[in-house]
């Protein structure tokens, strides 16, 4: 959907739900380094925000580090890029089957023109992406990649060339903590973006303004000053960007001087009446694009504030109040300019800040569908088959992908160039993720993961509650089992009354003596193959985790 259709179609309206009177506590904390306690609470907070869920092994790992070390390690990406998506599809019903590549090997280097193959490859790519997030290395890369995907939003549905998508997302992944300015430039001539925003159609005499507008309005400057540019600036920028096209075969974009408008482009007073001189010849496209990006990023205050605010909404909270504006957004925006648009020090400062660890900012993010689906698998340590079983693995990833889709976040296909409304639609923002349709679907997913799971090729994708309990430090102690589970899964503690009730009614089956649970657990551990002993503990743990994963508290990170 292009932007105008999007605007006229009407954005998602907030459901008629009265806002809570509780406006939430405010805080004046800023970007000074956090020096408070560093314990499990802080580690889990950091992990849930920077990765998908707080996997118990990651919690343990970072508990042995300091806060500085932890943030630095999360932001120092040394792991190689994930190996590329595989051909998990057959070629039935295709005109131009890609029989030249074997199933189980990657398709990303093979050019193919068949629409059906294209669809199957895109599907392979999305499943693979789910797998990459599930198997994320211990760093921030996947959360940042998704951040950039939402920011520089593209829809894979706009092309049959799955390789464009793979290339595009590799660009995001590679530059996830790099220069915002450099990424904006690269995105401008990225093949997928050239398709999606009609850049490949943009030529001398018939400029297409689609990308030129979004480059300024959505990708760099925002529209807070309503707007930061004029309609003439959009037209001028479109002329700068004329001449870029895609080559499907080489999976690259290229510049055709003959399609380029070589006239001078003059911009409005917002840009100090800058003129970008027309450049002819093979280097014209690059030269003028550099000039355009330089000009846009000369509006340092606007561009830096805009992206810093998005990062803030992604990592801290959707509401940016006046104190946060002054104490967090503005200093970080200044830092971004001072550091030549390098994202890493800004994210580093934010994640190390008093503000980030402020209790007022803990537990207040509503999990996005992807965060929910991937997070619950990682936190509950759901096991997948060996990667060599790729048909099964891709099938299982597909079931999770489908869940993300029905929960309204289809990775690779956000609803529009604006990304997902949860990140821009005032005043509800993240609350848009949860409604009368999606909340029960979230619960259905966790319920089914606990009971039958999802089976394909005989492999059952399932939360193994016993294995999870075994990974805890003292599962034979009902209170400890519950407390430790909550410390991993929840960001808001339950009251003692509710905890006592859960313990008594579920783990103790109504008994008052904790010993009965201990006894049942020890009996099972001593006789792990005894079905009855197994059933006695698994039925209670199933019920406990089913309950915990369905409560509103689990929707928050």
């Amino acid at each position: 959907m292009d932007r105008r259709t999007f605007l006229t179609a009407g954005s998602i309206k907030k459901k008629s739900l009265s806002k809570s009177n509780n406006t939430g506590a405010r805080t004046n904390s800023g970007i000074a380094p956090y020096s408070g306690s560093w314990g499990k609470n802080e580690v889990v907070h950091l992990l849930k925000r920077t990765m998908f869920g707080a996997a118990p092994a990651d919690i343990d790992y970072f508990l042995s580090k300091t806060m500085d070390q932890s943030v630095e390690e999360l932001l120092t990406i040394t792991s190689p890029l994930p190996s590329p998506p595989l051909k998990d599809y057959d070629t039935s019903g295709t005109q131009a089957p890609d029989n030249n590549i074997d199933t189980g090997t990657t398709w990303v280097n093979d050019h193919n023109t068949d629409d059906v193959i294209g669809e199957r490859r895109k599907s392979s790519f999305k499943k693979w992406w789910i797998g990459v997030m599930l198997n994320q290395p211990r760093n921030i890369r996947e959360k940042m990649t998704l951040f950039w995907h939402n920011h520089f939003a593209t829809e894979m549905a706009s092309t049959q060339q799955a390789r464009y998508a793979y290339k595009h997302h590799t660009l995001l992944r590679n530059n996830c903590l790099g220069s915002f300015k450099a990424l904006a430039r690269a995105i401008s001539i990225d093949p997928l973006m050239l398709v999606y925003q009609n850049g490949e159609l943009n030529q001398k005499g018939a400029p297409d303004e689609n990308f030129a507008r979004e480059l300024q309005e959505l990708f760099t400057l925002g529209k807070e000053n309503n707007p930061n540019y004029t309609e003439d600036d959009v037209k001028a920028a479109a002329r700068v960007l004329t001449g870029w096209q895609n080559n499907e075969e080489t999976n690259t974009s290229y510049f055709t001087p003959e399609r380029h408008d070589t006239g001078n482009k003059t911009f409005s007073s917002f840009y100090n009446n800058t003129t970008i001189a027309g450049v002819s010849g093979d280097t014209g496209g690059d030269a003028e694009l550099d000039a355009l990006i330089n000009m846009i990023f000369s509006k340092g205050a606007e561009a830096s504030k805009y992206i810093v605010k998005e990062l803030y909404r992604w990592f801290v909270y959707y509401e940016v109040d006046e104190a946060a504006e002054q104490n967090v957004i503005l200093p970080l925006a200044q830092m971004l300019q001072d550091r030549d648009w390098d994202i890493k020090p800004v994210v580093m400062t934010l994640l190390k800040s008093e503000h980030f660890f402020d209790v007022a900012n803990q537990g207040c993010l509503i999990k996005s569908p992807i965060d929910f689906v991937i997070g619950v698998c990682r936190e509950m340590q759901v096991k997948f088959p060996d990667n060599s079983e790729y048909t099964t693995t891709y099938g299982l990833w597909n079931s999770l992908l489908f869940n993300c889709y029905v929960l309204q976040q289809d990775p690779g296909d956000p609803p529009s160039v604006s990304g997902w409304p949860a990140y821009y639609q005032m005043p509800s923002f993240h609350e848009l993720w949860i409604n009368n349709n999606t909340y029960p679907l979230r619960t259905q997913l966790t319920d089914s993961l606990i009971h039958y799971g999802y089976t394909i090729n005989g492999f059952q994708l399932k939360i193994d509650v016993i294995e999870f309990a075994k990974s805890l430090s003292n599962p034979g102690d009902a209170k400890s089992l519950l407390e430790e589970s909550l410390s991993i899964l929840y960001r808001i503690d339950l009251s003692e009354t509710i905890k006592e009730q859960l313990k008594r009614e579920i783990l103790l089956t109504g008994q008052t003596n904790d010993y009965y649970w201990t006894n049942a657990w020890n009996t099972y551990i001593a006789n792990p193959s005894d079905m009855m002993a197994y059933q006695t503990v698994s039925s209670r743990l199933n019920e406990l985790y089913r309950y915990l994963l369905a409560l509103p508290e689990f929707q928050l990170s």
């Binding site: 939430g24 509503i366 039958y452 089976t455 808001i492 006695t536 019920e543």
Partner: protein, 525 residues
């Protein structure tokens, strides 16, 4: 079209293409029989209330053998109820009740209650957890069953739940557990059948808006938001709240009585119009290893208080049901995971035991005492337990048969084998009752014939994509895959050859994308 709608809409027509128990409906058009059929309430207005006495109730001090008093007293001198304090029963001189149970005594004398003596099962298990699971699942002592007996019954009656629910036939939760997380009792082969699948908003929250306060932080603000959605989303919250809000005037219930509080809500909901079939309430404290009674007076103390609460609560509930005009629609029964040892211990208490009486209440109950008092030898060894006279599942079976009008296939499918029918419910309550719910909504998977001996044809509908049909046994283990592959959207029929499988109940589970449906099938010898 649903059968009930169908009947209703076409009553004036002369010929209906429907047969009911072998009779054409037209042939019966003028009989009260048909009006029972077309009466909206006909097949769903029977309600069962299950009262769980958590911890193992000492049945021997609740229903006391007068015909063997000397041996009873001798076995437990420190807690035995004095003979002259035991409450006498009309028309029964052999048995009496604990002195705290005056309300229950009155119900008995008014013909509104039955006692089933020594209910239990072979090879009794003395662990709270395991014994509770046995009673809730309806399994043998040495058998592991991962579903509850009521859950299986509701799955049999409403096989497509929760897909398509609530609906006109069943706008309300199939079962409600008061004040507790859903128990094994209500767990069906696919999922919990009580309340709804988004269960955690506990009952009290819906009715009384009680929950942990949200903290005054941003997290608290978002929590409040999500809770609000959760509340709105709870499939049945509206109907429950509405029923609760219908606020009929009720008779007074005893104060400071947690069972009475729960039963009062149940009465309010039934009167409020809920079509929910099964309620479960529970209260705890029966694990009386020590100080079961006061040392110098065995008629008072912990156990006496519990029985008084039970008695007062049930009496108030029964009176209220009569007052509300719904007495004939409701029966209730008590169970506890086990009884206690015949011989008391030195701590003025009793240890885990075996069989114990079950109490069944209601105006449609066949009143009286079923069975004889447990035999107590003159010299009781500490290890001697009361053997069971009646299998507890016979009580379940009789309720399903006589109260919920289940046929023999249903009984065997739900209870996993055949059990003796007991005369605990009055006869004649099932005339004209037909099974409507099984035929409503979308059956994505079905089997014919069912029951079957070796082979049955499994028909299923897939929307396309990966499709799985698996056979699962009562322990929840997958014993066979019938389909596990990509399929084009269509209706397919495959054969399930059960050669080599033991006779019994199996579940066929269809998984297709986000959909799943589970139906029971019965393999007979």
């Amino acid at each position: 079209m649903k059968r009930r709608d169908f009947l209703r809409n076409t009553i004036p027509a002369t010929i209906l293409p429907a047969f009911v128990n072998g009779h054409t409906v037209t042939a019966l058009s003028s009989s009260p029989w048909l009006s029972a059929l077309t009466n909206f309430a006909a097949d769903t207005d029977h309600v069962l209330v299950i009262i769980q006495m958590n911890g193992g109730n000492d049945g021997l001090n609740m229903v006391i053998p007068l015909d063997n008093y000397a041996n009873y007293h001798n076995a437990r001198t420190n807690i035995a109820i004095p003979e002259n304090k035991i409450l006498k029963l009309n028309g029964n001189s052999k048995t009496g009740f604990h002195p705290a149970m005056t309300g229950v005594q009155e119900l008995f004398n008014n013909g509104k209650m039955a006692v089933v003596q020594s209910a239990g099962y072979p090879q009794p298990n003395l662990s709270h957890f395991r014994a509770t699971d046995i009673w809730m699942s309806g399994s043998d002592s040495n058998e592991v069953v991962n579903t509850g007996w009521v859950g299986r019954y509701l799955n049999y009656e409403f096989p497509n739940f929760p897909s398509g629910y609530p609906n006109a036939n069943m706008p309300d939760p199939l079962a409600i557990q008061i004040g507790s997380v859903s128990s094994l009792t209500f767990h069906g082969p696919a999922m919990g059948m009580a309340m709804s699948i988004t269960n955690p908003t506990s009952f009290y929250n819906i009715v009384d808006d009680v929950q942990d306060p949200a903290p005054a932080t941003r997290a608290g603000k978002e929590l409040t938001f999500v809770r609000e959605i959760a509340r709105q989303t709870e499939l049945f919250a509206g109907s429950i709240k509405k029923a609760a809000g219908n606020a009929a005037q009720q008779l007074p219930y005893p104060n400071n009585n947690q069972l009475a509080d729960q039963l009062k809500i149940v009465a309010r909901l039934i009167k409020g119009g809920l079509k929910t079939r099964v309620y479960m309430v529970s209260y705890t404290g029966f694990d009386t290893h020590s100080m079961q009674t006061e040392q110098n007076d065995p008629t008072i103390g912990k156990h006496a208080n519990l029985l008084r609460e039970l008695s007062d609560a049930v009496k108030a509930f029964q009176d209220d049901l009569a007052f509300l005009g719904i007495e004939d629609r409701v029966i209730s029964f008590t169970f506890s995971e086990f009884g206690r040892r015949i011989k008391s211990n030195f701590s003025v208490g009793t240890d885990h035991g075996a069989a114990a009486p079950m109490l069944i209440f209601g105006s449609k109950v066949q009143s009286g005492i079923l069975g004889s008092n447990p035999s107590i030898p003159s010299n009781v060894d500490v290890n001697i337990n009361i053997p069971h006279q009646y299998d507890y599942r016979s009580v379940y079976a009789s309720i399903l048969e006589k109260w919920f009008c289940a046929d023999s296939t249903a009984l065997q499918t739900v209870l996993l084998k055949n059990f003796q029918s007991l005369p605990i419910i009055q006869d004649g309550l099932c005339n004209g009752i037909d099974d409507l719910n099984k035929k409503s909504s979308n059956n994505l998977i079905s089997a014919y014939p069912n029951p079957f001996t070796t082979q049955t044809n499994v028909k299923y509908i897939t929307q396309g994509g990966h499709t799985l049909v698996q056979v699962i046994d009562c322990m929840g283990r997958v014993v066979k895959y019938l389909v596990d592959k990509e399929q084009i959207g269509n209706t397919y029929t495959i054969s399930f050859d059960s050669h080599g499988f033991a006779a019994g109940v199996y579940y066929l589970r269809l998984q297709n994308g986000p959909l799943q449906q589970v139906i029971p099938v019965l393999k007979t010898k």
